[in-house]
Symmetry: C2
Amino acid sequence: MAQQKKLVEEITSRDEDFTQWYTDVVIKAGLIAYSNIKGFMVIKPAGYAIWEAIQKHLDARFKATGVENVCMPMMIPESLLNKEKDLVNGFAPEVAWVTEGGQEKLQERMCVRPTSETLFSDFYKDDVHSYRDLPKNYNQWCSVVRWEKETRPFLRSREFLWQEGHTVHASAQEAEARTQQMLNVYADFCAEDLAIPVIKGQKTDKEKFAGAQATYTIEALMHDGRALQSGTSHDFGDNFSKAYGIQFTDKDNTLKYAYQTSWGMSTRIIGAIIMVHGDNSGLVLPPKIAPVQVCVIPVQQRKEGVLEKAQELAAMLKDYRVKVDDSDKSPGYKFAEQEMRGIPLRVEIGPKDIEAGKCVIARRDTGEKTDCPIAELPERVGALLAQMQTDMYERARKHLEEHTYTAATTQEFEQTFAEKTGFVKAMWCGELACEEKIKENYSVTSRCIPFEQEQIAGTCVCCGKPAKKMVYWGKAY
Amino acid sequence: MAQQKKLVEEITSRDEDFTQWYTDVVIKAGLIAYSNIKGFMVIKPAGYAIWEAIQKHLDARFKATGVENVCMPMMIPESLLNKEKDLVNGFAPEVAWVTEGGQEKLQERMCVRPTSETLFSDFYKDDVHSYRDLPKNYNQWCSVVRWEKETRPFLRSREFLWQEGHTVHASAQEAEARTQQMLNVYADFCAEDLAIPVIKGQKTDKEKFAGAQATYTIEALMHDGRALQSGTSHDFGDNFSKAYGIQFTDKDNTLKYAYQTSWGMSTRIIGAIIMVHGDNSGLVLPPKIAPVQVCVIPVQQRKEGVLEKAQELAAMLKDYRVKVDDSDKSPGYKFAEQEMRGIPLRVEIGPKDIEAGKCVIARRDTGEKTDCPIAELPERVGALLAQMQTDMYERARKHLEEHTYTAATTQEFEQTFAEKTGFVKAMWCGELACEEKIKENYSVTSRCIPFEQEQIAGTCVCCGKPAKKMVYWGKAY
């Protein structure tokens, strides 16, 4: 058990220093390694397997709504990027420029895509001619580059992996419906697969995406009470379509501009999984997306029949993602490692268990250990995984609820943020000036105007003028 | 049928102009669109779905051999690239350089990865310490950039998608075994999933990968008799490990350099599928990797019950990848489109068929049409898909056999390449000078030194000196 303690003690306590705890988990759970290039990380097998699970679940949800995958070029010529003014202003300061290729200086420099609205628009301009060609619901899984100053693994990096969906429609209504549909896909995915409850809402004009008519967002609350924007969906109306010339002949035989949307979720969501579910023993993975759901650990594995029995148990669990840790490390070390890596269930099997015809199952989230007759193992594992998925969501929901406050007055707003970290629901007049003042005074930003509105007060929490909307405010990652 | 003819007539005949035929298929089957950046293509849904199918099959084969997926940075600092002399000389002339980021000139320029040996080596140097850490069998699916002068969709493009496996081992023997194992994975995948027979062998020193000790290759023969290098596997020995300092403490407690391999297959293989199986009606996809295996086409679909019956047939085929074309195009147009896109089977259903309790099944590869009682449809579809997969492989194997020639003398060699296009098996002394002379004189290159050697003659086909090896020669893409 000395080794087990050692491994666990190496993590900083979550409540002492959340930032350091996060870094410790990311490294010690084997999710990433820092590369020699600032802001570029190496995603290691344990980290990439989580991303593969996310891709699998999310991609299936996309395809169920008629989305098709494509692949766009990774570079954007400067002249193409410049066609949409807002987008240029939004992204130009943070792109990486390719200026030389094949030992020659390029006639026109190209940026590595920070996002691909321009490329999709340029493609749709030539691909869409008639209402019969619409809608097109395309998505791509790729990596993008944004030259961030401050970087943190998964949360903010110069290169990150994501998916970006880009759709084009014949009507504004259809584009708006698709924008909301994809936001719901993200919210359902978070709730059902990642056990993360989110707040759905609209971004203020200040926080919306460059060039968008409306940006919708899902906001999740981390264990430390800070917010993480976890997925966004944008309705562009015909902004891009006019800038890039995407026109089609409609049923009435007139030429019209098309309507577009885009929506994205990135490896950032792995940061959310860590910060919502993780604890002082490391990562805790929701069973549905855990690359390994059950780790069978033989105790006294050199004794005759123990390793064989462990393999036998694994074979009984073939309907689950199961692995036997038959390495020559001590059981204590293996326990600590399985906990660090967040594997939902541990099955322990030793000579005494074999004699008694049972094994021990330990839940990663609660630490609860129960004896289980070997014959009942598959059934119990199935039930425990389902229960753990539900319980993890419920705990996260309760945490969100307990860390969501309301403030009717400026004083309440100030006091809440002075004493607590979490979401504060408060009324807003809709003016940019108030939003900026709140950010300056309390270092919090508007997270979203939630779809589920409440009437907390009649006046703006900042200026006291009549309020238009209730807003979620918080400190964000 | 006018529309059908029109669509088909738009393709150039495969035997008249193979190059133009290829381009026509790539565009008209909806696989790609040209982007506005030279050498960068847009892979459209029909093309990307093929790549997804390839990824799925190949990734499962990798994982069955213990490979784990990771993600490395997309950029390489110049100083890191420069550490391995051969690699620099091989790739430096064709990389794209990022010189500016976030509005500032970078202190050191970085290239967009043309391949990732340097990045993996730099990572392994810090990640591998003991023999207990070995082997590491990592792979990544990503895109790479090589600044090619001449570009063609899939076959040679400035950006392409691929997988690159990079493994590190404790012994030279183990690295060599992994190199050959992965070549066999590629060969089996081509034969069993893509219905493409390949020649397995070793590249000559002239043709091997920059920095490799040995490069193994699978070579496929296209319909026009030209060769396509379809996958390669490299044994680096300890070359990279010495350049990048990958050392580990072995069981005997001494510090040793590790041994490495790398192996890759790219979207180029989609070019092989097109050029091995395609015909004058367009693409022909092997059933195992066809994104859609069966297209149900209703005939006279406005008649009562026809569309419903088509949907019913599709429901009966739920074990296969099936789609109903219920668009308002004419049946003839739909037939031509299904053929152009290479969907293996077409099921036709019209009022008369319904009355007779049957439907018609058409095979894409042979054009053969047979009546099928509706109750027997799933069984027949399963049998036909399996048969088509086998037949496609057999036709390709026969074509390869019939276009593989032997030449014992210089005169035979010259005459064969003057009259035929295909592989020519001939003896070689092993000297670079002869290899270069053959390239100069006949515009053919050594494709590989096949594992299955034959003794065609005793002397080199070029210089007449004693021969060391039999080599496959050919014109390559």
